[in-house]
């Protein structure tokens, strides 16, 4: 089993990189993943 499976996920996206919602969309498909927090930071 991959270390990425069955974990709680904290997603820190970046407005000018990869936003939190995009991270959410891919992490959702990791078996047993649970997203406990997803956000997007903004430096501008």
């Amino acid at each position: 089993m991959s270390l990425f499976e069955n974990k709680k996920y904290i997603l820190i996206g970046d407005r000018d990189g990869i936003p939190g919602e995009s991270l959410r969309a891919v992490v959702e498909h990791i078996p047993g993943s649970e997203i406990v927090f997803a956000t997007t930071e903004c430096f501008v």
């Binding site: 990425f4 904290i10 820190i12 970046d14 990189g17 990869i18």
Partner: protein
Amino acid sequence: MDLENQKRIKQLTEEYGAENIIVVLGAAEGELSGLAAETVTVGDPTYAGCLTGVSLGLGVYHAVEPSFKAVCKPDVYEEQIGMMEMILDVEDITNEMTSVREEHSKYNK
């Protein structure tokens, strides 16, 4: 890292246990990725937030790292991250993340 986000990460780690948590970053550059990774492992290097001096030791990855990409569904990954993968300096980000992880992550590495 945003102060409010640091607070949330600290609370969630207390709630779920550091060994059960993985942090995924989407930062635009290696340097910023490294700073965020340090924040959730060895503590906030900018001494601004509540994670200053707090070593959570969390497993932390950037979304463009090959090891993370490998566990994602390829079509979804392509649609959501494909373009940024083409644009970001994947090598620099991966090097930065690997070095922080090797040195400071206690779990999930």
